[in-house]
């Protein structure tokens, strides 16, 4: 009851349980404009050669909103770049060594070292645009290939097919090993391998790993010195002690194994930020894996020995959490359009099952949940794994946070459904209990898996348009796809569906060709030896993380517009072929006219055809057919240069918006420009029977062919999550999804009125977080389009 009467704004703010120190650090993070003494903005570094490259388009190829600025970024970053002095012999080294040496120079001499007042985890300026250290002839080849890539990228994007690009981040480095043996231990391992390595290229590669594995010690050492300086000047005795303690910690880790909780978190943070510095890609999808599993033992040990109390542990963790948000400084000056990048997705995974299906929740899991709820920030993004044996206590806590905190961005992953699909793609069954999602909900293995996600993004609805116009793009009239025949001549829905399959394959192959090109460019010219040191398999295969070196390597094609496509096919099937209420010719003319002047027809298509999302067996069966067709087909492709194999996912990110204007009107009654459907969600408003029916429909897709995971968002009104009685009902809903549903679920507890208020008074609702297709964003920073979309989505509910 009390929650109903509470003023809305207080729901989005951090909890008043935060200590003054943490509150101040949190506020400091939000005060981007006044914090000119500490910003994590992009720092470009060049070799000084006139042909140097510090920015590559394919890195951002999956972000269409960036295309218009790519040239500007590329030029201005190079112009602004600081020249890193290099020894003449640098240019005699092989490419992999050059990358390692350059990285070492940057991290050891150029990354700024600053400590914020009161913070407990040091390190925050890591955002680089680093030279690719190419020779003149390499640069010429690189630029030629990159040019071809950009040309194809823009072409396919303009058709509304989708996009593709070798995207960095989006993986889980082997952090637990660093905590266990330190970078010294890693170097020893690499040295031992070096002693045995036969091929010169393997030896070069191992040398590069060793060079990179020296970097954390040096950078941490610079922090240790800084901390000692600060402690000498510090007048507050308590803080002086803290600074000294932090100096000791930084003098030790990540070089040496972490011995306690504080060391572990500091070690983790240094290791993590250096990945971002090395990849020149801050944040997106660089994930921690099963955070509570590898930190829990440190926490419990320190608590037991009395070295740590819960409150201190919490403050250290909160300090760590706040630091993760500094990735956003990257876009501080440009603002964010459409909420792109507004959730970077440094994902932490909590709970989940063990090898025997037993639950692995520990005390630290609950500490993390408390911090997530109280601190109410975007990063790191939490994902909780649920399964058959999840204890009620954890489930209740999750539901409480989802219901009450509203803000806390929360992803829920379902183990059995996730694991089934990872097994289907051929990953070893006995390792799958230890999977974890990256970014938003993209399932991978930990520490040994370079399975990119959001690598290739396909708009499934485009194929429907290509069928209707016999391979032509409706807007331009260009013959872009194969001629699958004049649909007016099709006698059965079967013929229509066959044409749809052909066009889908065409779109897929175009995008795969584009990705293959970027995959090759990255593998040839942009090795990341520091990251390779942190992904198992590279050291033994002698191949970089970008070259298929890790134990597991997949490329993911993520689909948008599943439901739009399904509903379109359902409408054609029922109204054109079965009931013959609409002629194919009339339908094509109406779509060509974007339904202008065809309102009655459009109404019929909208209202008289079945829709996916209503737990209706025959509609769901067609949905399953569509889903399985492309997700099975994609696994038959491999990227030739790296040997990485393709697999499917339903993330959709923001592409359901980006490709809306580039997709003609669809036979489900949608007009050009109206958003496509996202993830495995039904078309907005098409689901009329509530969340259980939607979850059933999603489950009926049989997502075992979607190893990378499926994004499903449901929205519930706050009244459905009030009080313990209703929260138990939500627990039941989640337990049911464990058995049948998507691999990942996000629940928005929002009412449209609140959202409308937030749109009008953004200042009052600065901290209002919403979940948008697998990622989370501050509502007021989203473009008006997405805001309206979310409001519409909420308002559809009755």
């Amino acid at each position: 009851m009390a929650a109903l009467a509470e003023p809305a704004v207080s729901l989005w703010s951090p909890s008043d349980k935060l200590s003054p120190r943490i509150r101040k650090l949190r506020d400091e993070y939000f005060s981007y404009s006044s914090r000119d003494y500490f910003r994590n903005e992009v720092m470009p570094f060049t070799t000084g050669q006139p042909w140097d490259v510090v920015y590559s388009e394919h890195t951002w190829g999956v972000a269409p909103e960036v295309y218009p600025f790519m040239d500007a970024f590329k030029t201005s970053l190079l112009v602004d770049a600081r020249t890193v002095p290099l020894q003449p012999e640098f240019w005699r080294e092989p490419a992999i060594i050059r990358r390692a040496l350059f990285f070492r120079e940057v991290a050891e001499k150029h990354l700024p070292v600053q400590v914020l007042e009161g913070e407990l985890i040091a390190g925050g300026q890591f955002n680089t645009a680093s030279s690719r250290t190419l020779t003149k002839s390499e640069a010429r080849k690189f630029k030629k290939m990159e040019k071809r890539y950009v040309r194809t990228l823009k072409e396919l994007d303009s058709y509304g097919y989708g996009n593709a690009g070798a995207t960095p981040g989006h993986l889980i480095p082997d952090y637990p090993t660093v905590l266990k043996i330190g970078f010294r231990g890693l170097r020893e391992k690499f040295e031992a391998l070096l002693a045995q390595a036969a091929s010169p290229s393997h030896r070069d590669f191992l040398r590069a790993l060793i060079i990179c594995a020296e970097v954390p010690r040096t950078l941490a050492g610079r922090y240790a010195r800084k901390l000692r300086e600060l402690s000498a000047r510090e007048s507050d005795p308590g803080r002086r002690q803290e600074l000294l303690r932090m100096a000791e910690i930084c003098a030790r880790v990540p070089e040496e194994p972490a011995r306690n909780y504080w060391e572990a978190l500091q070690s983790l943070w240094f290791t993590h930020i250096l990945v971002m510095a090395a990849e020149s890609y801050p944040g997106p999808g660089l994930s921690y894996g099963r955070f509570d599993q590898y930190l829990g033992p440190f926490y419990e040990q320190d608590l037991k020995s009395g070295a740590l109390d819960r409150e201190t542990a919490k403050e250290i963790l909160e300090s760590f959490f706040i630091k993760n948000n500094y990735v956003y400084d990257f876009q501080g000056r440009v603002g964010n359009n459409q909420g792109i990048n507004s959730s970077f997705g440094q994902l932490i995974t909590l709970s989940g099952m063990g090898p025997g299906g037993e639950d692995l929740t520990n005390d630290f899991t609950y500490l993390c949940l408390d911090v997530i709820e109280e601190i109410n920030l975007l990063e790191p993004k939490p994902n909780v794994r649920l399964h058959k044996n999840t204890p009620d206590r954890l489930l209740r806590r999750v539901v409480e946070i989802v219901s009450r905190a509203q803000g806390a961005p929360f992803l829920i992953n379902f183990d059995e459904i996730s694991i089934r699909a990872l097994e289907w793609i051929g990953l070893p069954k006995d390792k799958l209990w230890d999977y974890a999602p990256v970014g938003c909900l993209e399932n991978t293995l930990q520490g040994n898996d370079r399975s990119g996600t959001v690598d290739v993004n396909i708009n499934l609805a485009k194929a429907v348009e290509l069928v209707l116009f016999n391979g032509r793009d409706q807007a331009t009239g260009k013959q872009v796809g194969p001629r699958t025949g004049d649909p007016r001549q099709f006698r059965t829905f079967g013929e229509f569906f066959q044409a749809y399959e052909k066009q889908t394959l065409h779109v897929m192959e175009k995008l795969i060709g584009l990705y293959n090109l970027s995959d090759e460019i990255r593998a040839r010219f942009e090795p990341v030896p520091y990251l390779s040191a942190l992904v198992r398999g590279c050291e033994t295969s002698g191949k970089d993380v970008t070259q298929g070196g890790p134990e597991f390597n997949f490329i993911t094609m993520e689909a948008a517009a599943l439901a739009t496509t399904v509903d379109s096919l359902l409408a054609v099937k029922k109204l054109v072929f079965e009931e013959k209420k609409i002629g194919m010719d009339e339908l094509i003319r109406a779509i060509a006219a974007n339904y202008e002047g065809y309102d009655l027809l459009r109404q019929k298509l909208t209202n008289k055809a079945p829709k996916y999302g209503n737990d209706d067996p025959s509609s769901d069966e067609l949905a399953r057919r569509v889903s399985r067709f492309w997700s099975e087909a994609v696994t038959r492709y491999t990227s030739p240069f790296t040997g990485r194999r393709y697999r499917a996912g339903y993330l959709s990110w923001n592409y359901w918006i980006a490709y809306a204007p580039k997709t003609a009107a669809t036979p489900d009654g949608r007009q050009r420009g109206t958003f496509l459907s996202n993830g495995v969600c039904p078309v907005n408003g098409a689901d009329r029977h509530g969340p259980t029916a939607v979850i059933n429909s999603v489950g009926n897709l049989n997502l075992s062919t979607i190893p990378n995971g499926s994004s499903h968002t449901i929205s519930l009104s706050p009244s459905l999550a009030r009080g313990r009685e209703h929260q138990e009902k939500l627990m039941g809903l989640l337990r049911a999804n464990v058995e049948h549903g998507s691999s990942a679920l996000q629940i928005n507890i929002l009412d449209p009125e609140t959202l409308k208020k937030a749109q009008k008074n953004p200042d009052e609702y600065k901290n209002l977080l919403v979940r948008v297709t697998g990622y989370n964003a501050y509502f007021v920073t989203l473009g008006k389009e997405i805001q309206d979309e979310i409001i519409a989505r909420e308002s559809h509910r009755t």
């Binding site: 027809l601 259980t692 059933n696």
Partner: protein, 315 residues
């Protein structure tokens, strides 16, 4: 699984029903009611027959329905579609022809098998949440044979059942149904015999007899009081009901105080009916909590407040 082809008139099957009993439920609404409570939030449930409704906001004004109607029951006055309810036989032809889904038949003839097929789709949710199926209305006991078979089919399927009744039925009818019921949601509006008769047509003695009958069978009961401004919202009424359930009856597990809702106004307009409580304000949370305290003081063990209330948040 012995489901018959018995049919009834169902006006809605609501999934993820969270306000009609424990856990996640499906509520099956049966059409027809012997009472005529002025605050009824399901006016479409009153008539036992299927009824045509028109959704003004969706109407395109294309006139397909006028042409289609074989009974000439539809006419248009300006932008308003008028339904001659004496002529309309709710055949559904106009619904079929309307491209915009602006016409709808409320009340569908369904077999037990059809209802059960829908209900079973959410079995997983009932199982995981301790939920089940609730039969409501209207007054579901009006379709007693259909209901009895539905209850039977639920029992065969292992589903928990709740019966939401106003108690205005013959005791023999109720007695025949109770063996298939796991929980009774018993609507009790007022203990003022005359007021009850005048406003709703209900007979208090019959209703109380039925309440005692259910109680005597040992079936858990949730007594539900619609708290309606000017009708049932006096502390005296709430206290009297609380005293009754707290002392005389042994199996009342909970007393629900359901705050007046005005969300049904649009439905009245669609049906061409007058909503007597149009313009009445919602209760504030404080008012409802005060009533709950009154109920608890009078002996109700587990009084629970729900329903829409005025927001105290910033405007």
């Amino acid at each position: 699984m012995d489901e018959s082809s018995a049919t009834g008139i169902v006006f809605s099957i609501q999934k993820f029903s969270t306000e009609d009993g424990p856990g996640i439920r499906t509520t099956v609404f049966l059409k027809g009611c012997p009472l005529h409570c002025p605050w009824c939030h399901n006016p479409e449930s009153l008539s036992p027959r299927p009824e045509l409704v028109w959704h003004a906001l969706r109407c395109l004004g294309d006139g397909a329905c006028l042409k289609a109607c074989p009974e000439k029951a539809l006419t248009r006055a300006g932008s308003v579609l008028q339904i001659d309810r004496k002529r309309c036989i709710a055949c559904g032809i106009c619904v079929e022809e309307c491209p915009a889904a602006a016409l709808e038949i409320l009340g569908k003839k369904m077999t037990v098998t059809e209802v059960m097929a829908e209900v079973r789709k959410d079995s997983r949710y009932y199982e995981k949440s301790g939920g089940g199926v609730t039969f409501s209305g209207g007054e579901p006991t009006l379709q007693s044979e259909f209901l009895r078979e539905l209850l039977e089919a639920c029992r065969a399927a292992g589903l928990h059942t709740a019966l939401d009744t106003c108690g205005q039925c013959r005791p023999e009818t109720l007695a025949a149904l109770l063996p298939g019921v796991n929980l009774v949601l018993f609507d009790l509006k007022t203990l003022d015999r005359d007021a009850l008769k005048r406003f709703t047509g209900g007979q208090l003695d019959l209703i109380l007899d039925n309440l005692r009958l259910a109680d005597s069978r040992g079936i858990p009961i949730w007594v539900r009081v619609p708290v309606i401004p000017g009708y049932t919202d006096s502390p005296a009424n709430i206290e009297a009901i609380a005293r009754l359930v707290g002392s005389d009856l042994r199996h009342v597990e909970r007393l629900d105080l359901l705050a007046f809702s005005n969300l049904c106004l649009a439905k009245y307009e669609q049906l061409g009916m007058e909503f007597a409580l149009k313009g009445s304000p919602l209760f504030s949370p404080e008012e409802m909590l005060a009533l709950r305290e009154a109920a608890e003081r009078a002996g109700a063990k587990n009084a629970v407040v729900s329903g829409p209330m005025r927001s105290n948040g910033p405007a």
